[in-house]
Each structure stands twice: as structure tokens, then as C-alpha cells.
């Protein structure tokens, strides 16, 4: 049975008897659902007074309800038999994306809800893509879809120099050998993903740079300057927290739109609004010293043209 919360801070208590009793009760209550659903299906089949559209609509609804029942019954059966769940426990019959979040705060009750993933540039906090999967899978599984989305956005760019992803940073949860290999195959450095809890070296020696390029097998693809910049970017928790805080104050704190699709719409709108606010900050050059430094090194536009002209005049 899955325990919630981190194991490092005390022992997670699971009330096995209570869980089994509740799940048995659920199974008993749900026994009547299947015969009722079959009867409803038979009735729908013979309901000639309903239009074809109405019948199709009701059949779809009934099938969705049966699927939800099947999912919950399967889960309850596993729990009563003392078997582990293949994934986190479903807590809402009609929305399997609402489930306990594996990545909880230490020594706290389990968190329930959704876990959106973002991919952003660390200098100003512009979010390139958002991923909100059904359920709460591991953090490493977010990376590939997010990188795919960024590359799709890049294909839309109509400038002479097509931008490219040089490096990717993340926390220890992204430390996965398969993921690293997949990113290296796409020409992306993974120096920003730590392997241990030790802090990353912000300025690597030439030997380190050579070793990083060797490990990733990206010698002809990435330059030492790009490695230096990737190390300097690293993974900064305050930077990520500031992006998350900005999203939370734009409605990502509590998702009120209905269902998984609603959650995607709400999060997407919050991200679009956040990005617009970020662009305003960039236009006005209201950026941290670190962000200004990165922008200079990435040769991004630093000031408004008219501001430059004004300063010259």
C-alpha cells in the first residue's frame, strides 16, 4: 500500500483496517451499479422515441459512468486484497486527475489535486510550455512532452537564426539516466540536473567542460561557452518559486474550472497572462541583475529602441 509524505521525516501511517473496511463497503454499494447500467443500456437500445443524437449522447454518458465504476471497483478490489496500487489512489470518480500528489511536503497530510509542470527560461521567467497530465506521474515523465512543446513553438519562429534548446535544468526528481540519454540524443545538455544534493559548480574548469561534453557526447554540437552558461543557469529554487508564485496569484492556486480539460484551460490562461506580464517587465527592463547578465550573454534585446535613442540624444 502506498504511503504518503516523505519517508525521511517520520513514519507514514496507513490505517489498513480502516482502508479495507471502507473499500469493502464501497464494493458492496457499487454492486447494484452494473445490473442497473445493463438495464439502462437495454432500455436505451429500445427507446425509439428518442432521437439518434439524444441516444448517442446518453450512451456516451453511460459508458463514461461505467468506466469510472470499473476503475474504482478495480482499485477497491486491489486494496481489500492488500495489493499495491499501480498508481496513486483515485479520489474522485469522474476526474482521475484528482489524486494524491506523490511529491508532498514532509510530515504533512497527503496533497490532493493536480500537478502541472512548466518549462520556463530562468532569466525573466517566460513560460514556454505547460503540461498537465491525468493523474500525478513522476516529475521525469513531464520533461519529454514539455520539450516537444517548446520545439513545436520553435518551428513557428520565422527569423533567420532559428533558436534551439541548449540545456535543461531541474531538481533532483529529474535525475533519471534514461531521461538524460534522451535529452543528449536531442542535443540538450543536462548539466543543470543534479545527481546528488551537492550544489552545482557555477563556473566549471576547462577539464570539467570537456568532461561534460564527453559524457553527453555533444562535442561538435554544443560549445564550451554554452556549457559555461548552462552551469551558470543551473537550477535555482528562488527563480522557480517566483514563477510559481506569479502563476498562483493568477488563479493557478485553486483550479475552479471543471474537470481535466477545465484545469488545462485555467492553467493555460494563467500562463498566458503571466507571460504577458513578463514581457512587460522585459520591455521596461525591470529585471534582476542575474537576469540582465543572462540576457546580455544570450544576446537578447536589452532595452527598448526608443529608450536607447532617448539616452543617446
Amino acid at each position: 500500500m502506498r504511503c504518503f509524505g516523505r519517508q525521511c521525516r517520520g513514519i507514514g501511517h496507513v490505517f489498513v483496517t480502516l482502508v479495507r473496511r471502507t473499500e469493502t463497503h464501497l464494493l458492496e454499494m457499487g454492486e447494484q451499479v452494473l445490473p442497473l447500467a445493463r438495464a439502462a443500456q437495454a432500455y436505451l437500445h429500445g427507446a425509439t422515441h428518442l432521437s439518434a443524437e439524444q441516444r448517442a449522447h446518453l450512451t456516451t454518458r453511460l459508458t463514461a459512468a461505467l468506466e469510472a465504476h470499473h476503475r474504482i471497483a478495480h482499485q477497491s478490489r486491489r486494496l481489500t486484497q492488500g495489493k499495491t496500487l499501480s498508481h496513486c489512489k483515485i479520489v474522485n470518480a469522474y476526474d482521475p486527475s484528482i489524486a494524491p500528489i506523490c511529491k508532498g511536503k514532509s510530515n504533512c497530510p497527503a496533497q490532493f489535486g493536480r500537478k502541472p509542470g512548466i518549462i520556463a527560461e530562468p532569466a525573466a521567467g517566460f513560460i514556454f510550455a505547460l503540461h498537465l497530465p491525468v493523474g500525478n506521474p513522476s516529475d521525469a515523465s513531464y520533461v519529454q512532452p514539455l520539450v516537444d512543446d517548446v520545439e513545436q513553438a520553435i518551428t513557428r519562429v520565422r527569423t533567420r537564426h532559428t533558436p534551439a534548446i541548449h540545456s535543461l535544468a531541474g531538481d533532483l526528481a529529474l535525475n533519471d539516466a534514461a531521461l538524460r540519454e534522451a535529452l543528449h540524443a536531442r542535443g540538450i545538455l543536462t548539466v543543470g540536473i543534479p545527481k546528488t544534493i551537492d550544489p552545482l559548480a557555477p563556473s566549471p574548469t576547462p577539464e570539467d567542460v570537456s568532461r561534460i561534453l564527453d559524457e553527453a557526447d555533444l562535442h561538435g554540437i554544443r560549445t564550451p561557452t554554452q556549457v559555461h552558461l548552462a552551469c551558470a543557469c543551473g537550477y535555482s529554487r528562488p527563480v522557480v518559486e517566483s514563477i510559481i508564485a506569479s502563476l498562483l496569484c493568477r488563479g493557478a492556486w485553486s483550479l475552479t474550472y471543471k474537470g481535466h480539460r477545465g484545469a488545462i484551460v485555467q492553467m493555460g490562461m494563467a500562463v498566458l497572462a503571466h507571460n504577458a506580464a513578463t514581457l512587460v517587465r522585459i520591455h521596461e527592463y525591470r529585471l534582476s541583475k542575474r537576469a540582465r547578465m543572462f540576457r546580455r550573454r544570450l544576446r537578447l534585446r536589452c532595452r527598448k529602441v526608443n529608450q536607447d535613442n532617448a539616452s543617446i540624444n
Binding site: 509542470g117 517566460f126 517548446v150 527569423t159 533558436p163 522557480v240 484551460v265 494563467a270
Partner: protein, 188 residues
Amino acid sequence: MHLLRYLQHWLSGRGPCLQVADFVPETHPIRQWADTFPWAALVAAVERSFAQRFPKLTTRGRPPVSTRVLLALELLKHELACSDEQICHRLRTDLAVMYACGLTEVQVDGSQAHFVLPEVLAQFRRRLDEPLMAELLAIQAATAMEDSLVSPAHLVVDTFPSEQGSQRVNDAATLYKAQKKSSRSSRP
């Protein structure tokens, strides 16, 4: 479309015509925020997606509220932390919100209660889906990259919990803990 007959349109006003841009200074935060969006591309993407998924069966009836207005209202709702009702009310009275919605001029009519009803906004939102949201985000990102405002060279990935039950510390929780601590420490 029972809602259509309840719709109020700003074009139906009979009073003097106001130029919205004249009333909203260039330094206004909402104007600056709205000017960053590539509206034409975003609206085209939404209309293309709607036309594919919800083809119009008839050309009869009143013309619908512009996609540009509804999309801007949905975005403003998040930016200004408003409810559907609040943002629809602000559209009636706030010229900066009108500017963000792309309204260039308004016919003044005091008797008009709404420009857009909250129900219309909810109906618009119901039609948005995952691929469309991803496309809108990609358009915004591509425009920012084209303008050399952002670069995808070095990126950071992270996840965060949302929805009820989140244990993220907020002001109320901090205050509650502080009170509890002080009451404990004051005990003999």
C-alpha cells in the same frame, strides 16, 4: 443559442462615440499588458479551431460576440483575479479593459447593463480544449522569440501542486501558526 437574444452589443448605443485609446494612457499597466499579445494570430487560431470542431449549421441569428473580446476577457479574468461577473461588469465601465478587449470606440448608452454576459464567457470557455491552449501558448512563445525578447537556449523544468488540499504556506496559515506559537510560549 438561447443566450443570443439576451446579448447586449456596444454597437447598439445611440450616444456620443468615445475613442477608447484616448482615455487609456500608454503607461497604463493593462494597456501595456494587452499590447504584448499577438492578438491577430491568437484569434485566428481560436476561430480556426472552433470552425473545425463546431461548424456553423446556419447563418441565421444575431452575430456572436467577437472572439477577440471573449479571449481578452478570459485572459483579463486571470490577470486581474476577477470572477466572470466582475470582469464582465468591468468591461462595461472600465476603459482600460475595453482597450484590452480591442474595442477602439464605444457608443455611450447608459441604459445598457452589459456588453458581454458572464454566461457567454462561460460558453466560450467550454469550447477551449488542450490542443488549442497549447497552440495559443506556442504562438505567444514564437512571437516573443521572433522579437528577440526571450530565448529557449537554457530552460528550467519544474512541477507544482494546485487544487484544494495544497500545503503551500499562505498568509492565513502563517498567521495562525504565529498565534498558536505565541499562545504556547505565554503559558506558564
